[in-house]
Symmetry: C2
Subunit: 470 residues, 2 copies
């Protein structure tokens, strides 16, 4: 068996989730539990938490799958027009044909126009590669970039806490994980001084060549300032690092004063020598934002300033898997080319989109407020994304008992929380944290009333747990 | 850049296809060519060649994507009932939620029942992992199994000619490709003596642990006999090899006297000591067969006798990519749980399925007949799958000229064929062939009249080419 596979860990679907599924099964079989429902706040899965799909996206994709429905009078004309345009761009006019390996040409053009509208700078369809969710694109780019043995192995800089796809992919590819710590005392901000420290240390034992940024932050919920992004770009330029910007939460910004700045836009605005030198890959997805279409597995990467020879190798690499799923490409197209004012679907589309985003903003505030009322729980503002990553104080006796059982202390806490309350959150140790601190990640996605109960129950459980182990 | 990526080659979407796309663009811009249309016979993409989707599959999936349509009277009740059942099995009743990483539980159960009906032996849902097309599952299983450095690197035995996904994945994973040659003189049959030769030779420089079989064969179109499969299983047992059986063309059997026997069925029928020892992974897909739903990227692997600890590592590995695309899982379910006699969709479903399969059987015969009338083209019967892999004689002067241009001789031939006729086929060198022999792979998927013209044009071009270089 491949030893690199053995090293892979992925906490978001790790042992705690396995146990949550078991508990659900037991509940459904009538086994008595101290709760009536398992609430899976472990993963950013909006529809699983009851969020309704955006109607327009589903109409367009259903029409493409079943063109007989194009004659249905109940479906609005703009959805039909989009479906006809997309079908005409599919080989044999069928979503069942393979697309070109980097995605349907038309969709890549629409994505490029979407990026141009967002950033006000040019985007080229040839730089855009559609993918099977952002995860697929992230792993593909990492695969392209890593190499070497021993001290020349590629070092990949990732934030701590991180989204564990990164550590898993680095382990699988036998690259070297280089940690830089986000600053919890400053709302999980990225500090370039810390990047410098991490880089210098890593250079002693590997060849750091890639710098990964997650903005808005997962699991931190932090939104980076324009100044911070400028600093990171200058740092990458000076140190000749390839920038990977995970920007899948770009639509999820809640905090007053926070705004999303794409790395590409800031890079272009910085101008030479940065704009035409720094190599950047930016990732986006239909799984998050207001659409939450995780099940479709669709996303894209835009590469900027990539060496043309390397880009050609990238094109070759994606061709081996033939193409990203076409239904997902279709939904992505509807996301980047949404209904316009005056079109029949516009009002409903905007209303559905706003309802999702304003509910999320409300839940972000609620999460922070309730947690910060609880002694021993410290929660930074959820400025964006879909998660809160609170620090929890755990009594020394709990830490000892966890260690005696061979568990990380926050895993011990989360497992007990799950067994007693049915609440499933992921221990901070699965994302990385400073030695001696303990956290958990939870999504803010449950419906408001359920979220409120969850936050209160969790706070109460923490108080009880603290008392029990003090 | 990753040197393993540089080594990857994938002929099915290689330079010849790039040129075909350029020619298509030039044609559409009015550049005069000696042909009016590029015919892409390079890839098994049924819908791109005009095959119509099976209505029932598309109705079920469109309903799942857009449940508002459940009230449409024009859609039959059995499609609605399937959609309701599938939606109930999706988290939040939405195809936009992540499924469990190995796939929706209900779909895995339906796949297990499908396998039981096919083989008459038990199948367990826990042994079934849904995937993003069969390619994804094949690469995942290979990734799980390969390891080592130097002489202990894992050797993976593959047929020559092979489907180049295998060579590409082996290169990417830095494993060792171990070639065994299929017997062109005997209809591309697999000969266990040749397996023995290849294994003995490979053991001198690597550790062969995996044996890949493609049945029905891609690119050969060969269908293995039951006896051959028994022999291969016994060989794998004796030599402690993990069997990977690529059975994605199991519905595509055309030749009189040929039948599909799954490796699992034969393994179970052999009984002990084979049945409970030989480790097997069998792959299937919705991209081929009568459905041809390549764009959905959906398939599965069933693992048999896999070490439970390794299976757990497999479960972990697939969790990192979260889940296979849900729309594809839905179509897969409709394929393995088709309309039954008496249900409203039954007649139409069977008629559409039979129409596709009988047209393919007709085209398989046609291909063989026309090619074998051409001097210098030798074509084995297309017993199954979707391809013909004829051997072509090339005059020595053509071989010299190709080599002078740094091209494989069959690439030289195929490129000239494309430029003069617009016919795009893939050179045999992309699949592997015995030294000094030349082939190409073409699909038999174009509509009958177009296929007939294509076969005649190709034969005529070969005659002209032979004359020109003699």
């Amino acid at each position: 068996m491949n030893p690199a596979v053995r090293r892979v860990e992925y906490a978001v679907r790790g042992p705690i989730v396995t146990r949550a599924l078991e508990l659900e099964r037991e509940l459904s079989q009538g086994v008595p539990k101290p709760f009536t429902e398992v609430i899976k706040a472990n993963i950013g899965d909006a529809h699983a938490m009851g969020q309704k799909p955006i109607t327009f996206l589903r109409q367009v994709s259903a029409l493409c799958l079943c063109p007989e429905l194009l004659s249905e009078p109940s479906i609005p004309g703009d959805a039909k027009e989009r479906a006809r345009r997309l079908l005409a761009a599919c080989a044999g006019q069928s979503a069942g044909a393979y697309s070109a390996s980097p995605g349907i040409e038309l969709v890549r053009r629409d994505v490029a126009r979407f990026i141009e509208r967002r950033d006000g700078v040019p985007a080229k369809p040839d730089d855009i590669f559609l993918s099977t969710g952002a995860s697929d694109a992230i792993v593909t780019i990492l695969k392209l970039l890593v190499s070497g043995e021993g001290a020349s192995r590629t070092g990949v800089m990732i934030p701590i806490p991180q989204y564990p796809l990164y550590s898993a992919a680095i382990a699988e590819l036998s690259a070297v994980q280089v940690n830089y710590y986000l600053d919890e005392e400053h709302c999980w901000a990225l500090d370039v001084g810390e990047l410098r420290r991490a880089l210098a240390e890593a250079r002693r034992h590997c060849a750091p060549r890639v710098l990964c940024i997650i903005n808005p932050g997962n699991p931190t919920g932090q939104v980076q300032s324009r100044q911070c992004i400028e600093d990171v770009i200058k740092f990458a330029f000076e140190e000749k690092l390839f920038l990977m910007a995970d920007e899948v939460y770009q639509d999820n910004i809640y905090a007053e004063g926070s705004a999303f700045h794409s790395f590409k836009k800031v890079l272009f605005e910085l101008g030479p020598p940065y704009a035409d030198v720094v190599e950047l890959a930016s990732f986006h997805s239909i799984s998050k934002g207001f659409m939450g279409e995780c099940g479709f597995r669709s996303g894209y990467v835009e590469v900027v300033n990539m060496d043309p020879e390397v880009r050609q190798q990238l094109a070759k690499l994606v061709s081996v898997r033939l193409c990203p799923p076409v239904p997902g490409q279709i939904v992505l197209d509807a996301v980047v080319d949404p209904p316009q004012p005056g079109e029949p679907s516009y009002e409903r589309f905007i209303a559905e989109k706003q309802a999702v985003l304003s509910a999320l903003a409300h839940k972000a505030r609620l999460t922070q407020e309730i947690f910060n009322q609880a002694p021993g729980i410290h929660c930074n503002p959820v400025q964006g994304a879909m998660y809160s990553f609170p620090r929890i104080e755990l009594p020394p006796r709990a830490v000892q008992e966890a260690k005696a059982q061979g568990q990380a202390p926050d895993m011990f806490f989360c497992m007990k929380l799950l067994e007693e309350t049915g609440i499933c959150v992921v221990p901070g140790s699965g994302f990385g944290q400073r030695e001696g601190t303990y956290h958990f990640r939870m999504t803010i996605l449950p419906p408001t009333e359920k979220l409120q109960v969850l936050l209160q129950k969790l706070s109460q459980f923490h108080a009880k747990f603290t008392k029990e182990y003090s």
